[in-house]
């Protein structure tokens, strides 16, 4: 029964290589796909699986995240029984920001009351940066069938080669995990951990307690790798579309993949719709000389120019004569008349004034910061 399953969304994620988009927000709050934030995908997957108790362990810079998820209403998580719980890092008089940011075990430890008070038997632990449409009921079913202590979701993929921020699994013929490598420089492995786990709540609390009391700080390195022999850790193979977002390059690459109607269909429809904060915007408007090809357009955009191979978030204006190619333009940005944009990422509310030309490279898109005026 999925009512016996709760979830922890662990936002202890490395933002170093995507810092252009995270100076003022956490990775989970990075806008994606025209109208979403990364966390929308994981929250939607959880509620589609009938998991209605979700704790979000925030690390830092969580103002925009709090603003976005609010009471959890859009995900049906504003509930009397269970619901959404934001779990900020537990600062006390003897800690400060830098000390508090010392590993996810610390976060789990400080929130152990939340776990203890929950009546669910199982916990799904997940991050926010692996974007996919996954059915957690199937993962939990697999976990029970294998009688596993811990189940790790993985995908066989060459995405692991995109950056060295990767956790690789080695599995035996039965699907049992025999080795885990965290961020290896070189790897021939193709079993990429999606950093999603199913575990009994009591076992999770025991692991956290054991790590903490022995100076361990990292759930995977100290909690899993050190227990590979003692615990039955199994790998659940996920075969659907996966976007692993941990760098500006992967963000750009996976954003552009959404332009394929097949990917668009799988991510947004195959496993239920993706919920997000509602803005009550009007329809997108295309004027008589708009020219839009191969693009995703969100509501309330008003397009008077040319848009190709691009993603426009809600409320973007593209004025006459402007040409937007291979670009991602976030909410409420303004592209002035005769502007040329190519391989650019505009953060929210940016404005490019008349006649300017901005161009990056496929492998290195140029980022215009939030509310910047060019």
């Amino acid at each position: 029964m999925m009512k016996d399953v709760m979830a922890i969304v662990n936002l202890a994620e490395n933002e170093e290589q995507i810092r252009d988009l995270t100076p003022h927000r956490s990775l989970a709050a990075v806008p994606f796909g025209g109208r979403y934030r990364l966390i929308d995908f994981v929250l939607s997957n959880l509620v589609h699986a009938g998991i209605f108790k979700v704790g979000v362990m925030a690390q830092h810079k969580f103002r925009s995240l709090v603003d976005h998820v609010g009471s959890g209403k859009e995900w049906d998580l504003d509930r009397y029984r269970d619901g959404l719980f934001l779990l900020p890092p537990g600062y006390t008089a003897d800690t400060d920001m830098s000390v508090a940011h010392r590993g996810d075990i610390d976060n789990f430890y400080r929130n152990s009351d939340f776990l203890k008070m929950s009546r669910q038997e199982y916990v799904v632990v997940t991050g926010s940066s692996m974007i996919c449409a996954i059915d957690y009921t199937d993962v939990v079913g697999f976990h029970q069938e294998k009688d596993a202590d811990i189940t790790v979701v993985y995908k066989q993929t060459d995405l692991a080669q995109d950056s060295n921020q990767r956790t690789m699994l080695t599995l035996d013929d039965e699907g049992r995990v025999t080795d885990i490598l965290v961020n290896p420089r070189h790897t021939d492995q193709d079993c990429l951990s999606m950093k999603m786990y199913v575990i009994k709540k009591q076992l999770l609390m025991d692991i956290v307690d054991e790590c903490d009391s022995r100076g361990g700080t990292d759930f995977v390195k100290d909690g899993l790798i050190k227990n590979l022999e003692r615990l039955r850790i199994y790998g659940y193979r996920f075969d659907g579309y996966l976007a692993k977002i941990d760098s500006l390059r992967s963000y750009y690459k996976h954003s552009m993949e959404l332009l394929s109607p097949d990917v668009w269909g799988e991510l947004f429809y195959n496993h239920g719709v993706v919920y997000t904060k509602i803005k009550n915007e009007g329809p997108a408007k295309y004027v008589d000389n708009a020219n839009v090809q191969n693009s995703l357009v969100a509501n309330a955009c008003i397009i008077e120019g040319t848009v190709e191979n691009s993603i426009l978030f809600r409320g973007v204006r593209v004025r006459r004569g402007a040409v937007v190619r291979n670009s991602i333009v976030m909410q409420k940005s303004l592209i002035g008349e005769n502007v040329h944009l190519n391989h650019a990422i505009l953060d929210k509310g940016a404005e490019i004034t008349e006649g300017k030309a901005i161009s990056g490279e496929d492998t290195y898109p140029v980022v215009i910061h939030k509310e910047a005026v060019v």
């Binding site: 109208r35 109607p261 009550n280 329809p283 090809q293 995703l296 357009v297 509501n299 978030f313």
Partner: protein, 414 residues
């Protein structure tokens, strides 16, 4: 039922069929008819309430209430899920001494006197759920108080040649109503009632009770209550509204009002962040405009997938337009699928209808496929949940209902 006293509450009349909309209101009441790419007509009135600070609204339903009831729910889409107020759907009900359908607009409010009294309001607004407009009711209420009126009627300047279609208010220099003409042959003024009223509750309550006791009355606000209050020399004032106001009561006016939104700067602004039009959100992804597609002079919504050409049209959420398909001068409602090579020209297509490959909707040389009616303005109308077979050509102006479709066994169509 103990609730907090409210200064003003609104009673929204949403029970009308809107029979001139034909098959579009066969299964739902007029206020539930889709409009403007993502809204239903009633969204405008409900959003007006929210944006005007009115947090208690009774919605009077009667005709085909299923869609409307489900749609309104607990009112959260309009921020009307409130403690001690919010939205209440009020269908006719059975009492110890029998019970009856709503006989008229005034009778509908009369039957809910108990609901109104529970809020002990000073003022009651009576609104129609049939019109498209954005109006700040709080300003009208201010005007009402300032004038010490017993009732205030919102009026709208209409062209003189159209006055015969409306209830006309003749006013003096102080905007006091001196005469009311219902659909006059020769109007003395061109200020038409919008069906938006503010009443002092004590005055309205007494008028409703007396009106109900009159067997001759048709229990209607325009025909009975307003003339009665005038006759009794209550101070009635006309509040002039300026801005977009439209009764989308016919197929043509519904189509035209949608097309109006495609102008470069339409009279109805849907992008005012200070006056949002709220509607239940479909939770669909950003629209996907595929390679080779072309979209011009159109409104397109979330979840649409366009591979063909869309020109001067309004697409509701979740519409798919296949490769080589053409949609022109049309209003395409939620989740319609227009397959590859199909053409839709000057049409209104109801929700979930599928137009198969190569079909042509609105063809001069087409056939009267299952048509139950003809539209004189040449607008082809397809009801919801139809399946138009491959390569079929449907004649311009055909009105095709889904009931006719259902009488056909599935295997004979496809």
């Amino acid at each position: 039922m103990r609730v907090r006293k409210k200064e003003v509450i609104a009673m929204l009349l949403a029970g009308g069929q809107g029979s001139r909309l034909g098959i579009l209101t066969q299964r739902l009441a007029k206020p539930a008819v889709p409009f403007g790419g993502k809204y239903r007509i009633i969204d405008f009135t409900l959003s007006n309430c929210t944006n005007s600070g009115i947090d208690t609204v009774g919605v009077l339903t009667q005709y085909q209430p299923l869609t409307l009831n489900h749609y309104i729910g607990q009112g959260s889409a309009w921020d009307l899920d409130r403690k001690g107020g919010g939205v209440s759907v009020l269908p006719p009900f059975v009492k110890a001494q029998g019970g009856q359908w709503y006989k008229g607009t005034a009778n509908a409010v009369y039957q809910n006197i108990e609901f109104i009294e529970s809020y002990e309001p000073d003022y009651v607004m009576v609104l129609s759920g049939d019109h498209i407009y954005k109006m700040d009711y709080s300003k009208m209420l201010e005007f009402h108080k300032q004038k010490n009126a017993a009732a205030t009627i919102a009026v709208f300047e209409v062209p003189w040649e159209e006055t015969f279609r409306f209830g006309i208010m003749n006013t003096n220099a102080e905007q006091r109503v001196v005469e009311f003409q219902e659909k006059p042959k020769e109007a003395k003024n061109n200020l038409a009632s919008m069906g938006v009223y503010v009443f002092n509750w004590e005055v309205l309550k007494r008028a409703l009770l007396e009106d109900e006791a009159d067997p001759e009355s048709s229990n209607d606000f325009g025909k009975n209550i307003i003339p009665k209050l005038l006759e009794e020399e209550y101070p009635l004032y006309a509040y002039a509204f300026e801005g977009y106001w439209k009764d989308v009561g016919t197929i043509y006016s519904l189509w035209e009002a949608n097309m109006d939104l495609l102008q470069a700067v339409p009279d109805l602004n849907l992008y005012d962040s200070e006056w949002r039009i709220f509607t239940p959100n479909p939770s669909q992804p950003a629209q996907c405009i595929a390679p080779g597609a072309s979209v011009r002079q159109s409104l397109v919504n979330e979840g649409c997938l366009v591979r063909g050409a869309v020109d001067h049209s309004v697409l509701f959420p979740g519409v798919h337009v296949g490769e080589g398909a053409v949609v022109r001068n049309s209003v395409i409602m939620h989740n319609v699928v227009i397959e590859a090579g199909a053409v839709v020209d000057k049409a209104i297509v109801g929700e979930d209808t599928i137009i198969e490959r190569g079909a042509y909707v609105g063809a001069e040389d087409g056939e009267d496929w299952n048509a139950v009616d003809r539209n004189e303005d040449g607008i082809t109308v397809l009801a919801e949940n139809l399946r138009v077979p491959e390569s079929l050509r449907i004649k311009t102006g055909s009105v095709v209902s889904s009931r006719a479709h259902q009488e056909f066994p599935e295997d004979k169509i496809s």
